[in-house]
Amino acid sequence: MGFPKRQAAIVGVYTTKQGKLPERTSFSLQLEAIRGALDDAGLTTADIDGLLPMAMTDHVPGTTAHQFWAEQLGERPLGLVEIGGASGQLAKAAAAIAAGLTDVAVLFFGRAGGRTGPGGTAAPQTRAPRVSDDWSFATAGGYMTSWYAMWARRYMHEFNVTHADLAEVAVFTRYHATLNPDSVMGRKGEITVEDVLASRYVCEPLHLLDCSIDNDGGYAVVIASAERATDCRKKPVWILGGAEAYYTDFYATINDPWFPNQGKAVRKATDRAFALAGISRDEIDVAGLYDCFTITTIRDLEEMGFCKLGEGADYVREGHLRLGGSMPANTDGGLLSNSHCGDPSGLHTIEVVRQLRGECGERQVPGARIGVSLQQGWAVHGMASTLIMAAD
């Protein structure tokens, strides 16, 4: 006797309002997202058998995540709890569904009142704080943007890429955001390369408009077995393949060349996901590419094998990712112009699902049938996961 092999599908998605939400708590955003995604699927909280909390979701101090959610959601045992990061969790949940370990699982995240950037970090009044980060991330004044800035600087140096090349990423994602009424930045209108270059530097070479936004928000995704999916309210978006890979988070610990031809974690996860799905890169109609900074999108393309090493900026400039291009990406405006709500890595998957359902209105990719989402974990391609989805 072996495990069964059952297909899994995404059957429900939901995003709360994204933006500054001072009246909300992280928990209330999470609960709204869970209930909203279940409602989208035509299911209720009683149908939940598995939970996929994003790593940063909080719960009552003194309880563990599994204990808190199993009790909070109606005091029932849960068939699967997998804590981690979005598309990797969905891939593992799909494998768990395939193997018969669970039937309906919900991925969720919500954050209110937190900030990812350096703003709001007050200086101490009297004494230097001591930190366990010995080798000088905190002690040198480093934070997330500085890591990506150093990554961008080295990349620009090796491949002769310019500030304007990076800016092109911010320009097309903002255009997409203007077509998404729920995006945080869309109402501010389109931007040009010159606008990006004229925005103030945060960490050179990254300008403010090279950086994702930093807002509140929540979201959830419901995944179910084929048997359950066929009874759901909307048409299923099938999971064809998915995988994750881990290498390292902060480049200070990597001494080998930063941009090897054979790629790193993103390449490993993406190669495996495509192999499982049994499709090729050129069959992708729509993509959600992790874009915490403009440099990230360019590197995503190279690592995922959509273009060669050093050609990511050309690929963007040729318009492939813009609506109307060969593989429109981040059609919601991405993390740069739609939302970065703390751990936004499920948002790309949600937008791809909406595209494959044909729900995207003005920004709909006509006839989109197969999509891919890339999630990246903590920083700089150290944790990566890729999910390939298709509509019937």
Binding site: G117, G141, R200
Partner: protein, 146 residues
């Protein structure tokens, strides 16, 4: 070897917590030496310090002084900073690739004494030492190599 003027008081930026496993490193800094764990078995230098050699997994590592000479592998000029760093913008964070090879070591630190617009990839730099007023610790900085 360069010893910089002591940092101005009060020093409010984060400082490393000295623990048993990193104490030899910070003791050496006080003596104006930058030491890196070197593998007794294969000879490779390992930075950042890990419990075993990343080339051969040997646990036989010895804190070994290095020349302090390096080149800028990459850097950033920060125009916003967390906490007390925000009062010092723009400041430079640089990753210096140590002269010691074959396994390259990238060491992160603040590059001081050079105007941010003059910093570039490939620039020769070296480790310098700076006392921290009111604190029992010496820190390392990158400076331009003459």
């Amino acid at each position: 070897m360069t010893i910089l003027d002591a940092a101005p008081a009060p020093y409010l930026k984060p400082l490393p917590e000295v623990r048993a496993e990193n104490k030899p490193f910070f003791d050496a800094l006080k003596n104006h030496q930058f030491v890196v764990p070197r593998c007794d078995d294969c000879g490779d230098y390992n930075w950042v310090p890990y419990p075993a050699c990343r080339s051969c997994l040997s646990e036989n590592l010895t804190w070994t002084p290095v020349s302090g000479d390096a080149t800028v592998y990459t850097f950033t000029v920060c125009h916003r900073g967390p906490g007390a760093f925000n009062a010092e913008v723009p400041y430079v964070i640089a990753l210096g690739e140590l002269a010691e090879q074959p396994r390259p070591c990238l060491v992160l630190g603040n590059l001081v004494g050079t105007a941010p617009e003059d910093v570039h990839v490939g620039m020769p730099i070296q480790i310098a030492y700076q006392e921290i007023p009111g604190e029992d610790i010496t820190m390392w900085r990158w400076i331009a190599r003459p």
